[in-house]
Symmetry: none
Subunit: 196 residues, 4 copies
DNA sequence: AATGAATGAGTGTTCATTCAT
DNA sequence: TATGAATGAACACTCATTCAT
């Protein structure tokens, strides 16, 4: 009923969401500077002033997308902490679970992922935050006796972030591997190492 | 002779080299788009037309810097292949050696590193190439019997690239760890894993 | 009856009057160009289309305010003509009376005053008209024998307008002098001069 | 010689001066907001970027013109102080001299005058400063015994500024009176008053 | 080898105004 | 009487790049 009689774009929230979605794709594809407002609005079938009805500026919409990314990512990372009393056999699978979550997220939101992880000037901060979160998790897990302490967990955490990063770009987004495969391999490498 | 009549240190080649160096720093600090030719020349104490005397365009100088990075990086990666007949005990150190080379390079050429690894649109390609190179090395090493074959070496290679990437940004350039420390830790993790 | 169903104090005429009052204050404070319709309606708690329900355009509402000013001013000036047969002793007070009227008006309607006398493109015309009116009065007064004829009454009239103008801005609206004080001083100066 | 071979606008300072002059006229004729940079440059036969080569912004060039006005005006007002030991007979002429200077200035620089005295947001300040200067002069003259003390000299000073203002607009710029006539009349009015 | 001066082409942003409801 | 949504038309400003010398 609320839909009846509504014309294309006659709902503000719809226009806003549309612009946001298109902007995400444009930013992801062309980067911040090569993305033109004029193009976004063209694809959304609205005029430039309409854009400014919903977003304060080009930078503002970009930051909103960044924020969106950060929030969604934060949820995922928090969930991936291992509960205590976990069966040692189940450990690999449990860790993989967390990774799969992240890779799934990147699969489903590639544009958001590119923006938050690669394009944003604050991407380094975001990755640092993620690493800090992971480090926290790892330390709990060390305390729980799952891991030995021969390595600097901050370095491990950052290493994991880097692996996720690169594998997402090189394997996930190219379709060469699935989220599950990547997660399983990372776990295999990091848990057991390469040495025979 | 080449010295005669030279003012303000601006022989042709000198101006060119100066511009190149300043441009590298500017690109690294502000990114491609926020780097203005007008700023580069100001810092080099020359005028804009002088810039175009030595470089075809803004893009051209950027690409030249990229190229410089790629070449220097390629050398390093090639060297890091393990020779056959290596003592198994020496393995970790040998691998670490390669990593240290890379980290040293990033330490000594941070601007070039940022450009080639983070700013350039072709950074992904560069990383892919590096991963391919590493994969090659790893496969030789598998063949030589150093490593088991339970993991996809392409994924390992990309993972390593990712680790290098993130650790460079988060640990090396922030001064939190040295090249040696990082190399040692990576080796520890990837060779033996975290599991007790 | 007109009261039925009225919300938020917004009967038609009320809205209109409210907008007019707010617009006057905004124009006076920020000038024509820095006054935004969007701001006026925000302060009036109505939407932009509502504005256009009552006023044809931004220019139209401004002109309406100008007109308002001009009408109120015209009344004042007309009243200030000196009646014939006036006692010479009473002359200064009589003239001061007219000035006081004008200064009172500016005191009570500063926004309107600013609009009509300073902001409007036709402020010069308004002042010219006022000067003409005053000149008329002065000429009657000359004829009535109150003043000598050694000066060009058009210049005197314009001079008086200028004095009123500047003193309003610099003394009246800053609170440094009252309408009465200013009127008395002007009379003293213009009637008797400065010379000992 | 320095002129030979020079093409239209091939001298930076010339372009700058040209733009400044045209801008003054445009601002004076159309006001700040209705003056478009695009128009200024069109009249100067240069392109928009050229404008920004010499002026930081539209506001900046306007302020530069304001400043120009203020400086020139300040010189004039300072000169108009009466020297002590002046013959009482010469007084009127001496005062008129100062006024003539101001009126001449307005005659020769009408655009600058409009900008500094009417268009600028700080016109009120400029007038206040002028009034203060005049008040200073008047007080010296009172002390020297030229004038009686029955009136508030600050009000007289502001009154004079107002007269100058209005007479400039209504009489000088319309060509109805010359600088000399206006000065003489003002002196006559303010010195001797109107009363028979 | 180097420059003073100039520009083509573009881009984000603003604001008064109106349509459909 | 009132509004949510949308737009036409501008305009200031920027920057890489080049011409003439």
């Amino acid at each position: 009923m609320a839909q009846r009689g509504r014309k294309k774009g006659s709902d503000g929230e719809l226009s806003r969401a549309l612009l946001l979605r298109i902007a995400a794709d444009e930013f992801a594809e062309h980067g911040y500077y090569e993305t033109k407002i004029s193009n976004i609005v063209k694809k959304a079938n609205v005029t430039q002033p309409t854009f400014y009805l919903y977003f304060k500026s080009k930078e503002a919409i970009f930051q909103e997308l960044e924020e969106l990314f950060r929030k969604k990512l934060a949820c995922l990372t928090i969930d991936s902490r291992l509960e205590e009393g976990l069966d040692e056999q189940a450990l690999p699978e449990r860790i993989a679970g967390g990774l799969i979550g992240v890779f799934h997220f990147f699969t489903e939101h590639p544009s958001l992922g590119k923006i938050g992880f690669y394009l944003s000037p604050s991407a380094a901060d975001t990755k640092a935050a993620m690493a800090a979160q992971i480090e926290d998790n790892l330390l709990s897990e060390v305390e729980a006796g799952y891991f030995h302490q021969n390595v600097d967990m901050s370095i491990v955490a950052n290493g994991l972030v880097g692996m996720i990063d690169q594998l997402t770009v090189a394997k996930l987004w190219t379709g060469k591997n699935t989220a599950d495969e990547l997660a399983k391999e990372i776990v295999a490498i990091v848990l057991n190492g390469l040495k025979k």
